[in-house]
């Protein structure tokens, strides 16, 4: 009795060890594929943006959403509340700070190591060669784990639809860029607050701007290193710092969970050895006990 109880606890401990003991083994797998060197990005200069919201309008037009009358976009009262991207508006501009106010366009950041791609139960999200992170309606089951995973709380869900609700977010105008066009928001911006280009070039450009005008810009380029880097990067004025964005570490969001996940399933060795172990214990115990006592029926 006593020895078997100790055995029992020992096995319980072993089971746990197989579960988590290999935590570090799979750590490299998170960045295995790595982002492409040719991936594109957008540099947002929030010190230039005037909050005209024409990017919101262009975005709707490019995604077959009714944009409504253009005069609506001149309504400055909207800035009183902070808005988030929603199914009917994949990008939104918010105003932060009082004097002088900064305007910040928000949309999917298109992470280099996207948490949504890692999390999605059916692999409905994909990270493309050009940096875009897109969602596939044919696969999605509407579990909303992507929304739990997203470090920037970007994906939105159509809660009011009983049938075929969608997950919506900026798709980096993947159809436009495939034909050589710029994303709709970038193309329409009247003050060139948005710059579209190779992310590597944009990162250099951002650093040059900060160095050339340290009074105007905060030295922190948001998105350069956050969660392992994002396709969209933000230049901010000194006052704006930490106002518009959540503070995020430089580690890719999916890193830890993927490491644990791949640790548990490393070549299926841990589950199979647990199976063999339990089978062995069962078999050994069977020989000791009187026959015909153990079976169910």
């Amino acid at each position: 009795m006593t020895t078997s109880r100790r055995d029992f606890l020992k096995i319980m401990g072993l089971a746990g060890a197989t579960g988590v003991g290999t935590l570090e083994v799979g750590a490299a797998s998170a960045g295995q594929q790595g982002p492409s060197d040719h991936r594109m990005g957008v540099l947002v200069d929030t010190t230039v943006c005037i909050g005209c919201r024409r990017c919101e309008m262009a975005c709707k037009e490019a995604h077959s959403i009714d944009p409504g009358p253009e005069s609506d976009y001149d309504n400055r009262n909207l800035f009183e509340t902070e808005r988030r991207p929603i199914p009917s508006s994949l990008t939104v501009v918010n105003r932060y700070g009082k004097e002088p106010a900064s305007h910040v366009k928000m949309q999917c950041m298109h992470c280099d190591y996207p948490a949504c791609v890692s999390a999605c139960i059916v692999g409905a999200f994909s990270k493309h060669e050009n940096g875009a992170v897109t969602w596939d309606s044919d696969k999605c089951i509407g579990c909303r784990y992507c929304m739990i995973a997203c470090p920037f709380q970007v994906p939105a869900f159509e809660y009011d639809k009983a049938i075929h609700p969608r997950i919506t977010k900026c798709d980096f105008c993947i159809e436009r860029t495939a034909t050589g066009l710029k994303p709709a928001c970038v193309a329409t911006c009247p003050v060139e607050a948005l710059t579209y280009g190779k992310r590597i070039d944009l990162a250099r450009m951002a650093q040059e701007r900060v160095e050339s005008d340290p009074d105007r810009y905060s030295p922190h380029i948001y998105g350069l290193h956050e969660v392992g880097g994002t396709s969209w990067m933000y230049l901010a004025s000194r006052d704006l710092q930490n106002l518009a964005f959540p503070e995020r570490s430089d580690r890719p969001a999916p890193g830890a969970s993927e490491a644990v996940q791949h640790g548990i399933f490393k070549y299926f060795i841990p589950p199979l050895s647990l199976y063999a172990l339990l089978g062995g214990v069962m078999w050994l115990g069977r020989k000791e006990s009187t026959p015909g006592n153990g079976g169910e029926s």
């Binding site: 078997s4 109880r5 055995d7 029992f8 606890l9 319980m12 401990g13 089971a15 746990g16 579960g19 988590v20 935590l23 902070e82 988030r84 929603i86 948490a115 791609v117 890692s118 999390a119 999605c120 139960i121 059916v122 692999g123 409905a124 999605c140 089951i141 509407g142 579990c143 784990y145 739990i148 995973a149 470090p151 920037f152 709380q153 994906p155 869900f157 809660y159 009011d160 009983a162 609700p165 959540p246 995020r248 999916p254 830890a256 969970s257 644990v260 996940q261 791949h262 548990i264 589950p271 647990l274 199976y275 339990l278 069962m282 115990g285 006990s289 153990g294 079976g295 169910e296 029926s297």
Partner: protein, 414 residues
Amino acid sequence: MSSAHAPKPITKPFFTPGVIVLCLLCLNGLVFATMRFVFGIGSITHLNDLYPWGIWIGIDVAAGVALAAGGFTMAALVYIFHRDEFHCLMRPALLTAMIGYTFVALGVFFDLGRYYFIYHPIYMWNGNSVLFEVGICVMAYISVLYLEFLPIFTERFKGRVNLPGLLKNLKRPLETVISFLDKIMGKVLFLLLILGVVLSCLHQSSIGTLMMIAGDKVHPLWQSPIAPLMYLLSAFAVGFPMVIMESLTASRSFGLKPEAPVLRKLANYVGPMLAIYLAFKLGDMAIRETWVYLTEFNRHSVMWIVETLIGVVIPIRLFFWKKAMRSNKILFIASMCVIVGVFLNRFNNFVIAYHPPYATESYVPSIGEISVTLGFISLEILIYRLLAKIFPVITQPVKKLSAQTRFAKEGVLL
């Protein structure tokens, strides 16, 4: 079958005042469930883009899976470690696990925006996704649980198929199928039993990995790199208390004498397992220095202390207190403490600890969400009661007129 005690169907009437209350709770849940499917999730829940998961995931799924741990822990104890003295508790534990997991799946079904695509993970794989692993493991484990229940099914209907009217012709083929299943199951059951334990260890721990990808969005008191291990340890710890609580409740409800000596023996395991869980919980806290958050007074610190005190510390004291354990009441209270503690741990991790960026107010479950969850729990109890009346699950003293002969007369295939 010659022993004085054997599992057999309960003969008590189905309806009691308590059962009627449960039926009303089910009906109430059904009203909101209908609205959810007609008008969408947004119509009856407080879920939004900031809080995409509420109590349907935090309670129905995360806590539901943990509290169904009685099935695999008992299977491990009885069949793998051959502790035959607990055999009488195996069938109720299996039935609870089977019903519990069915309702976990049902909870997921209600929460999915596109519930009609619930089968997609079977052939659309994402090996990086923790949710994918949990989904596949739970699907597989539900199948295993149903197969494990098959011997009880065949025991009930073997040689007792009795169909009315035209269906009479089906009697012969059905009998053949049942004896065939009975034979097969006798041979492969042990493989399934081990598989069930392995699958349980996998997904019980992986549910702890689920919120890991949310990173800083989950409060550091719960966002631990060893969360999967702690989820597994707490699942081990809560399995037997669930079996004890159910056994005491069932014997009270069905008017039977509780299996007190066996339950007390089972309770011996709980204290050490809780102590191991507590050691990891506190060790994790010491290493990550999360105790600093306990010096603040907010819902996180309060909920963590409640979860740890009621769910772990107090029951450890009670389960190691041999004198107090002699009382069925204290045994019941101690078991309830562990159950509430694990329930709170899952609820805290998925609901209380989750605070998304840009949130201006916190998530509070709606009447609709609570109604559906309560409806699920009520329905689970009702189905347990119903199946305990149909199948030989609960061990009772065998009376003179053997139950077998009676069923040979009345037996019907549902």
